[in-house]
């Protein structure tokens, strides 16, 4: 009888050792995602698009196309203000291309891309900007 109790007690305690604790799985960011932004910039004007980065990383911007092509405009990146304006951090004079024209390290937060007339536009200019950010 004493031996039977010992066997049952050992079996009961050994089953306790199989308790497992699981934790929620973190969501893994797959990295920078490409986006596009199309609009029209008018003579003397500008157009911007705000976006949020979900982690620190690199923002890249390319002026992918203008209609007509070969037109130079101002292209910049900055911080998005609550009033909708885009306060520029960096800007270049750009014509449409295929490789990144602006590449800048940024903290997690709210940013913006901006295109603006350099004072040379004679008519509204349709454009597409490519964006990549975490």
């Amino acid at each position: 009888m004493r031996r039977l109790i010992m066997i049952l007690l050992t079996a009961a305690l050994s089953s306790c050792a199989k308790t497992t604790i699981t934790s929620p799985s973190p969501v893994v960011d797959s990295g920078a995602l490409p986006r596009e932004f199309s609009n029209t910039v008018v003579p003397g004007g500008s157009a911007s698009r705000a976006f949020d980065t979900t982690a620190a990383g690199t923002i890249t911007i390319v002026l992918k196309s203008t209609t007509p092509g070969g037109v130079a405009v101002g292209l910049g990146v900055g911080i998005a203000r609550s009033n909708g304006s885009c306060a520029l951090n960096a800007a270049i004079e750009a014509v449409a291309g295929t490789t990144a024209q602006i590449s800048i390290a940024a903290d997690k937060g709210a940013y913006c891309a901006k295109i603006y007339d350099l004072g040379t536009l004679q008519a509204p200019l349709p454009f597409t900007i490519g964006l990549s950010y975490p």
């Binding site: 604790i21 306060a87 520029l88 940024a106 937060g109």
Partner: protein, 130 residues
């Protein structure tokens, strides 16, 4: 008897994963115009102790970003000014140039032109605190 105690104790072992409670940080944008050799400062209040980060994100002359160096500082309001406890000479970036731990209280961020801007320029500072 021993068997009953052993089984009973086993059945009460319920470990549940817990997650820490966190509060989203507060982001404030301070924008204004800085005159040549001028200083501007802004106050903010922290209700939770923690790390404050400050970023001189933009300095513009019209649509053109400027690369002038400015002094960015964090500190405590003192009289009609801001007494900085940490400061850095910096140009603009989209990553914080300053980071410092502070307790609960009222603090300030200060921007100063020490070198002499050629013209007044518009700036934007991003501040993040707990």
């Amino acid at each position: 008897m021993a068997l009953a105690i052993a089984i009973s104790a086993c059945g009460e072992k319920t470990d549940t994963p817990t997650s820490a409670t966190s509060t989203a940080p507060t982001t404030i944008l301070f924008s204004g115009t800085l005159q040549p050799l001028g200083t501007r400062f802004y106050s903010y209040t922290m209700t939770t102790a923690g790390t404050v980060s400050a970023m001189l994100a933009s300095l513009e002359r019209g649509n053109t970003p400027a690369t002038n160096m400015l002094e960015l500082g964090l500190g405590i309001p003192a009289g009609t000014g801001c007494a900085t406890s940490v400061a850095s000479n910096t140009n603009t970036a989209l990553i914080p140039q300053l980071s410092e731990d502070f307790g609960v209280g009222t603090y300030c961020v200060r921007i100063s032109d020490k070198d002499g801007l050629p013209v007044p320029m518009n700036f934007t500072i991003r501040l993040v605190h707990p």
